[in-house]
């Protein structure tokens, strides 16, 4: 190989690596991106079972039922729709009825109960997950808390 060919081979190998990385990124995106839904969206456009989504809204008043051990059932509502959710694990410190919440998980085939494997809440009592806050304000269900600063 001449020097030029050698250099081309090296550059081609580098490009090949970048191409592999790019394909990996696209594949990972297709596998792991979770779209955000609110209960009303699910009523309009149902999500196929086994698809990972994020479901956000307010925890329904009086809906939290503790089952055996660490299993909890509650509902997520946005004023228009309500979805039942089950979750096994520790709830965040700031999980309360009437508070904003974002859950991540999927629907089992043939069931309309959302199986959450994570429940998110941040460490701030004024915090409303931003997706939830934006949408609830659009709907006029929640006016939002003014920042103290």
């Amino acid at each position: 190989m001449t020097r030029k060919q050698k250099r081309l081979a090296v550059i081609a190998a580098g490009m090949g690596f970048i191409a592999v990385a790019a394909m990996l990124v696209l594949y990972a995106f297709s596998q792991s991106i979770a779209y955000f839904y609110m209960p009303a969206d699910l009523a309009n456009t149902p999500v196929p079972p086994e698809t990972r989504i994020r479901l956000g809204g307010l925890v329904g008043e009086g809906s939290v039922v503790r089952g055996n051990g660490s299993t909890v059932a509650f509902s997520v509502t946005d004023g228009e729709g309500t979805v039942k959710v089950t979750y096994t694990g520790l709830l965040p410190d700031l999980f309360r009825e009437g508070q904003g919440v974002v859950t991540e998980g999927k629907f089992e085939p043939g069931s309309d109960v959302f199986q959450a494997d994570s429940v998110l809440a941040k460490h701030d009592e004024n915090y409303m997950p931003k997706e939830v806050a934006d949408r609830l304000k659009e709907k006029g269900v929640w006016a939002g808390q003014e920042q103290t600063q």
Binding site: K6, A9, V10, G14, F17, I18, A21, L24, V25, Y27, A28, F29, Q31, S32, I33, A34, Y35, F36, R54, R66, N68, G69, S70, T88, G89, L90, L91, D93, L94, E104, K122, H123, D124, E125, Y127, M128, K130, E131, A133, D134, G144, Q147, T148, Q149
Partner: protein
């Protein structure tokens, strides 16, 4: 009164920063020595002014002067003294002032220790530091003034966010900023070199200690942050691929690449243009991180919308500095002459591979972090990119790098013998597999793939030791000569070996925790027991307690092994009274390098409590490895050849076997 003095000092600092931005660079263009010398004086004065200003704010926090808005919002008279001080940077305004303080500290250090630099290069670099300082001083004064007064002064403060009341937080931001902002020096030197239109191996020699120092602090800062998140948040995880974490991780990856490419440039005068670009990109990622964390764009679009000035201001700084630097690069880089040639299989080749993998993986992290933000800004669609994305892309890309690392130091410059390196690493590889297998059988089950992960981590450790072993000539020469040669190796050789070993130890920790961790979420009543990695954990009951600024419900657990009591642990749920905010304080017990981690959930009506218990085998290796990496950085920094003021070239004390490590 004194608070106004602090404010005034900051305004003066802005004026000095503007002088520093213009005069030395103008002097360099006109070859005016007097004007260039102003740079060093101005940099030191600038640091003194910002330090004074910072000291005033710290004093206001320390004496709980609630007439200062920043103190009122982030402090409370009952907060322990340590957290009164760390409260200074536990908020937006104060942390930006800390950012500026560290930036000007680095400028002053360049001025003080850069006496052996060419005058023009130093003057230009200090001016670039002046531009950044002026931009951030203006940002603080216009949008994030920590010296605002409140009238009338409230009697009591609103308290520091309880999650931040922790020793880890007291040290994490300063360390992180020392790293983040330290890369500004590399950036300034790169811009100075582009303006001068001249660059050589000497440039790399001047920049390398700064890169190394910044990298070392950033390593420590990230590890500290990770450990803090692990024990303070009570979720048991040590890395969440949260955008805020990624914001600090990206400069680290790019900085690691820069550290290695500067090596090639220093030793072989190759990769010059690439190194300059990396220096610019690394600090750009630091700026981007500052934007992501400080603009509020991540936590809440809401906050960004109510106070858009901050976000827009930092975005403007970002665009001007990154855009300006890259434009300058585009115009000037073709003028720089390319350097030495090398074969693909060589030390240079290995370092190019290192750079390729590190920059590509930085890019994947960048894409995963920014894509959801861009998509929402452009289409309004909301998505989340979670850990699975990063684990898949970043994790897979790292595999070839981890395997290649031990080969790098064994390859010769210019043209090397891969087969020879392979033979020399044969023992290390075999040993790694053997130890990994033994380790695997010693654990309580787990995926078989873990053996390969463990072997990769061990290969890094043994590979680094092999390098030292071969350099010392053990096996070839008598032991006494070998020991003498080992002692004569340059410190940077030990630095390299330690950093690579540290990486290996971190990999070991990550693999062990991922593969062998056990987790139980159960409702426990007093007297009940749960197993955790060969130990059993018994719940004894709950108890109420009162702390200085909180009340808590504590659960007591006894840990036994084979019936004998080994340790006892408290885990609690706290309520911070001032903010009415609940937090979970995890109970953690260390056994060797492994930990038992207990986190409390909700109290049940029947007196039980939901408890989450993890067995985290060898988890301390994750941060221990980072500490070893950091140690490697410091050892390397103490190398004579890097010490500022040391002669740039000196006769090698012995034969080719003592060739410097990197």
């Amino acid at each position: 009164m004194s608070v106004e003095l602090g404010h005034y000092a900051l305004v003066l600092a802005l004026a000095v920063a503007i002088l520093l931005s213009i005069l030395p660079m103008w002097g360099a263009r006109r070859n005016d020595q007097a004007l260039m010398d102003i740079g060093s004086v101005a940099a030191v004065v600038l640091f003194a002014l910002v330090a004074f200003s910072f000291g005033v704010l710290a004093h206001a926090h320390l004496v709980s002067d609630f007439s200062v808005r920043n103190v009122w919002e982030n402090s409370h008279s009952l907060v322990p003294t340590l957290y009164k001080i760390s409260g200074v940077w536990g908020n937006h305004e104060g942390s930006m002032l800390l950012w500026l303080l560290i930036l000007t500290l680095f400028s002053a250090l360049v001025a003080l220790f850069g006496r052996n630099l060419p005058d023009r290069l130093r003057a230009d670099a200090l001016s670039v530091q002046g531009w950044i300082s002026a931009a951030f001083a203006l940002f603080i004064l216009l949008t994030s003034n920590p010296f605002q007064r409140l009238s009338p002064a409230p009697a009591e403060g609103q308290d520091l966010n309880p999650v931040l009341q922790d020793v880890g937080l007291a040290i994490h931001p300063p360390l992180l900023y020392l790293g983040y902002v330290g890369f500004s020096v590399c950036f300034s030197f790169a811009i100075a070199a582009l303006i001068e239109g001249r660059i050589d191996a000497a440039w790399a020699r001047w920049v390398r200690p700064w890169t190394l120092a910044a990298w070392t602090f950033l390593t420590a800062g990230i590890a500290m942050g990770s450990y803090w998140a692990y024990y303070e948040l009570g979720w048991g995880g040590w890395w969440f691929w949260d955008p805020v974490e990624n914001a600090s991780f990206m400069p680290w990856l790019a900085g690691t690449a820069l550290l290695h490419s500067a090596l090639v440039m220093e030793k072989r005068e190759a990769l010059k243009i690439w190194t300059i670009l990396l220096a610019i990109l690394t600090f750009s990622l630091s700026l981007l991180g500052t934007f992501l964390v400080r603009s509020g764009v991540l936590t809440s679009v809401h906050a960004f919308a109510t106070d858009p000035t901050r976000g827009v201001f930092i975005l403007a700084i970002l665009v001007i500095f990154i855009g300006g630097a890259l434009s300058l690069f585009a115009f000037r880089a073709p003028m720089l002459n390319a350097g030495g040639l090398f074969a693909p299989i060589s030390r240079e080749g290995a370092l190019v591979l290192n750079n390729l993998i590190l920059t590509v993986s930085t890019a994947t992290v960048l894409i995963g972090t920014l894509y959801p933000l861009l998509l929402e800004a452009l289409t309004g669609e909301k998505i989340s990119v979670g850990p699975p994305f990063f684990n898949l892309t970043f994790g897979l890309l790292m595999v070839p790098l981890l395997l290649a690392v031990p080969f790098g130091p064994l390859l010769a410059w210019k043209r090397a013998d891969l087969l020879g390196a392979l033979q020399r690493l044969f023992v290390a590889a075999g040993l790694s597999f053997a130890v990994a297998l033994v380790f695997y059988y010693d654990q309580y089950g787990g995926p078989v793939m873990a053996v390969f992960g463990l072997a990769a981590g061990l290969f890094l450790v043994f590979g680094a030791l092999t390098d030292l072993w071969l350099r010392a000539g053990f096996g070839r020469l008598s032991t006494s000569i070998g020991l003498r040669r080992l002692a004569g190796l340059p410190r940077s050789a030990f630095g390299t070996a330690l950093a690579h070993m540290g990486l290996g130890i971190t990999v070991l920790g990550i693999v062990a925790v991922t593969a062998f961790e056990t987790e139980h979420v159960v409702e426990m009543k007093p007297g009940m027991s749960v197993p955790a990695g060969g130990y059993s954990l018994t719940f004894d009951g709950m108890k109420s307690a009162v702390g200085p600024n909180y009340t808590e419900d504590r659960g007591h657990f006894t840990i036994r092994r084979g019936g004998t009591v080994k340790a006892d642990v408290w885990s609690s749920k706290r309520l911070y009274t001032a903010r009415r905010m609940p937090t979970t304080e995890a109970g953690i017990v260390t056994f060797g390098l492994s930990q038992v981690y207990v986190s409390l959930g909700d109290l049940m009506a029947d007196g039980g409590i939901v408890v989450r218990i993890w067995w985290k085998p060898y988890i301390l290796c994750i941060w221990g490895g980072a500490l070893v990496m950091m140690l490697g950085g410091f050892v390397s920094l103490s190398d004579r050849r890097l010490r500022v003021g040391a002669p740039s070239r000196r006769a090698r004390p012995a034969g080719p076997a003592l060739e410097p490590a990197e």
